[in-house]
């Protein structure tokens, strides 16, 4: 088992290095620079700025400088937010997105699984149709429509929730729901179809015929066998949700990390582009690793490593 983990960790580092290098090269290939704008900066001021951020060096040198500081886990200064470093930007904004994401994820997984299970057990009945109606709605209504609608009715017209900004727990309810809508719908549909399939299997019939109480059939045999597809998507889904949503964070004015994925590119904020990309990749790679380990625990058929001994 240790050997497997060490091998995986080594692969993870290589993957990250490849991602860092490719991102660096692609980012430098985009035309434009961080300082081109409406304001007329004299050449000399531009030169000072370029040398301050080492942008006047040839690209291979810039790459080496970046890699050197990356090894020390220093992601460098942001160019757009002149007085902040990429490390502080990530460490300040990620916890906010993570809190919101965790709430949304719990809401999505708990409600999604519940709806999926109920829909499958009441296959082709009213509850099933109802759950599927909401699932289709959740998948097809984009968040930039859902969020302003919720804002308009739940916050402005009926004054149940605050409109926007981030000043306390109650401010996180609307964005959590808006953020949860899509994964919730996805999980519901996936769980339902997977469960409908498992319910027709022979071992379920066996379990029923040997006289197990229905709730045990559902919990011990059906759910455990049908949850595997959910585990597969839950890794990337978690990372995606935890790292925030540009749209939701913008609409509800949440100081999360989501906007940096988009804005850093349009601002040509090179260190920030690298920083958030690498942060996201490491998170994704790590969570996928955890998911692989979880497979082994849930499904005995999957063997990640030969049992030690002989």
């Amino acid at each position: 088992m240790n050997r497997y983990i060490i091998r995986r960790l080594f692969q993870m580092v290589i993957t990250l290095w490849v991602i860092a290098t490719l991102t660096f090269l692609m980012m430098k290939a985009i035309p434009g620079d961080p300082f081109s704008g409406e304001k007329k900066l004299p050449e000399q001021v531009l030169k000072n700025l370029m040398s301050y951020y080492h942008l006047d060096e040839p690209i291979p040198v810039q790459y080496l400088i970046y890699m050197k500081s990356l090894l020390q886990l220093d992601l460098g200064p942001s160019i757009k937010y002149e007085t902040r470093t990429v490390n502080t930007i990530i460490s300040e904004s990620f916890p906010v997105s993570a809190q919101l994401g965790t709430q949304a994820l719990i809401l999505a997984v708990v409600t999604g699984l519940l709806l999926g299970v109920v829909a499958a057990l009441r296959h082709n009945r009213l509850i099933d149709y109802g759950a599927m109606f909401f699932a289709v709605l959740g998948i097809s209504v984009p968040s930039f429509v859902l969020a302003p609608l919720m804002q308009k009715y739940l916050a402005v017209e009926w004054e149940l929730f605050p409109v926007a900004t981030w000043e306390g727990w109650e401010y996180s309810i609307l964005p959590s729901i808006a953020l949860a809508a899509f994964p919730l719908a996805t999980i519901t549909r996936l769980m339902r179809s997977s469960m409908v399939e498992v319910l027709t299997q022979d071992y379920i019939r066996t379990a029923r015929s040997k006289g197990l109480p229905p709730y045990l059939v559902v919990f011990r045999h059906t759910i455990r066998n049908s949850i595997l597809p959910i585990v597969t998507i839950i890794g990337p889904l978690t990372v995606g949700i935890l790292t925030g949503s540009f749209v939701i964070e913008k609409i509800f004015s949440i100081p999360g990390i989501g906007k940096y994925f988009v804005e850093s590119i349009s601002n040509r904020d090179y260190p920030l582009i690298m920083g958030v990309t690498l942060f996201y990749s490491s998170l994704l790679i790590f969570v996928n690793f955890l998911v692989d380990l979880a497979y082994g625990l849930i499904d005995p058929r999957i063997q990640l490593f030969k049992k030690g001994g002989n």
């Binding site: 900066l41 519940l114 900004t165």
Partner: protein, 533 residues
């Protein structure tokens, strides 16, 4: 069934906690507390007075600090930290006598803090974008470009309360400039120990009407009244809360629910703006700068001045300003905006007539004949795809050329930074452009089109124009200076490497009971004397 019970119970708990939570809210004015709730369009890029250069950063810093001068309601510089100013007859030496004032930590503010601050801005290691606004000072440009040293910069604290400034050339707008954030003093004792003291709230020391209380990045900045401010009895607000909401629809909802006291015209959704202007919710005022078009005079067909003129005259500016943009902009018939001081625009008058379709057609034919063209070389119009509005404008312009010149112009949209890079590398035929003045002076508008100026971007070069600008820069006499500038502006319109479209307008919507906010066509807003009922 049991499961449903648990589920509905959970939902109920979420709802109840949500509802009870709603009673707490943003900063409200309670018990005599007067908090002005404002919005920034996002995290300010820097609140260090040396580096603040975008509108949001400038707005916040301007209310945290006070410079030698401060602009009054009529946009005139009035003594602030300075008690009085003596200007030498040649206009090259300014001596500022300072009031005895204090920093927000209670320590004395001296002329040394100013000297330190200005040299800090100019130090190439600081890499301050607005450093060039100090180039009027002797030795400043040299130090900033690495050709001189800090000692050669013409600013010196003669004693604790006397600051002497030597200029490189007479600059009538110098006093106005000393009211801008880049000229603010810096707490020398703190900055020598920690050069990044203006990066976080707990080390932030300032000298203005307000001091820094909270700065949660990406979330809000809160300023509270500074008890050490030398005129603190005139300050009526107890605090200013700047939130950082980027989405314009959300900003609008927050304003409607009275969570925001003031919203600027720029942060109102464009589709709602015309109505809000019409019903008086948004009050307009003269703005800074203008929207215009650039021709690349080294690319055909705009190598020919008559063809450039034809393209300039075939535009109906009034129609574009009123119908296409429709948010209070004024059609522009010259380059320097009406908000420029000393009635520059009134004296200069209009330099181009609107919608001269017949004249345009004639000029186009003449120009083509001069060049020996039977068909016009293809014209592409470069624009930035950042806003819906810029697309509407270029489409209107395309239609006008089709209708009035019979010319088919192709449109080319590019992502903002690529668009600016193309502009700077002169990789275009014709392009939309925008100018915002850094300080309110006709010179600042017109200096752009000197040969090889970083704002020129048209390949246009005219010796007479360069000469006139040089003369204006070196003239200490306002009349004479303006005369040179008027002449230069005329040359610009005779040759037409650029043509104007509309002057920007500014505006804001305020809740009832907000008074005393001072705004200027150029430069940040001032909340020092603002009040909230």
């Amino acid at each position: 069934m049991k499961k449903y019970w648990i589920f509905s119970l959970a939902l109920l708990i979420v709802l109840i906690t949500g509802l009870t939570g709603c009673t707490t809210g943003a900063d409200k004015s309670k018990g005599g507390e007067k908090v002005l709730n404002l919005n920034l369009s996002g995290e300010p890029s820097s609140l260090d007075p040396a580096k603040a250069f975008d509108e949001d950063s400038l707005d916040v810093t301007n209310n945290l600090f006070e410079g030698l001068m401060r602009l009054d309601q009529n946009h005139q510089p009035k003594p602030a930290v300075a008690k009085e100013v003596k200007v030498s007859p040649d206009g090259l030496t300014y001596t500022f006598m300072l009031n005895k004032t204090k920093w927000s930590n209670g320590e004395e503010l001296t002329a040394h803090d100013f000297e330190f601050a200005w040299k800090r801005v100019l130090d190439p290691k600081t890499a301050a974008e607005p450093a060039f606004l100090l180039y009027f000072i002797k030795g400043a440009e040299e130090f900033n470009t690495g050709k001189g040293s800090a000692d050669q910069v013409g600013v010196k604290a003669l004693d604790d309360y006397t600051l002497e400034v030597k200029l490189a050339r007479p600059t009538p707008s110098f006093l106005q400039l000393t009211s801008y954030p880049v000229y603010f003093p810096v707490y020398k004792k703190g900055a020598e120990k920690n050069p990044n003291l203006y990066n976080e709230a707990d080390t932030y020391i300032s000298n203005g009407a307000f001091k820094m209380a909270e700065w949660k990045h990406d979330d809000h900045v809160k300023l509270v009244k500074n008890e050490h401010y030398h005129k603190n009895q005139t300050v009526k607000l107890s605090a200013i809360h700047f939130s950082m909401v980027t989405d314009s629809k959300t900003v609008y909802q927050l304003f409607k629910t009275k969570k925001l006291d003031v919203v600027g015209k720029k942060s109102i959704p464009p589709d709602l703006l015309p109505t809000m202007i019409k019903n008086g919710e948004v009050k307009l005022r003269e703005g800074n700068g203008l929207a215009f078009f650039r021709f690349n005079v080294k690319k055909e067909p705009f190598t020919n001045a008559k063809i450039r003129k034809a393209f300039a005259l075939a535009i109906d500016r009034k129609l574009i300003a009123e119908q296409v943009v429709g948010s209070g902009e004024q059609p522009a018939y010259a380059y320097v905006a009406p908000s420029a001081p000393n009635n520059f625009r009134k004296k200069g008058g209009d330099l181009i007539k609107d919608a001269q379709f017949e004249e345009a057609k004639k000029l186009l034919a003449e120009g083509m004949k001069e060049e020996g063209w039977t068909t016009l070389p293809p014209v592409t119009l470069l624009y930035s795809n950042s806003t819906e509005q810029s697309k509407k404008i270029v489409e209107a312009v395309q239609e006008m050329y089709r209708k009035h010149l019979g010319v088919e112009v192709s449109l080319q949209a590019k992502e903002t930074k690529v668009y600016f890079a193309d502009q700077r590398n002169k990789n275009y035929v014709m392009t939309t452009s925008s100018f915002l003045a850094d300080y309110n002076d006709a010179y600042n508008y017109l200096e752009s089109f000197q040969t090889d100026h970083s704002m020129n971007r048209t390949n246009w070069s005219n010796k007479k124009y360069d000469e006139l600008l040089q003369k204006a820069a070196n003239s200490g006499n306002q009349e004479e200076r303006d005369q040179h500038l008027h002449e230069a502006e005329k040359i610009l319109f005779d040759e037409m490497p650029v043509f104007p479209l509309y002057y920007y307008s500014s505006g804001a919507a305020e809740q009832e009971g907000i008074t005393g906010i001072i705004r200027h066509p150029v430069g940040p807003s001032d909340y020092t004397s603002a009040d909230k009922q």
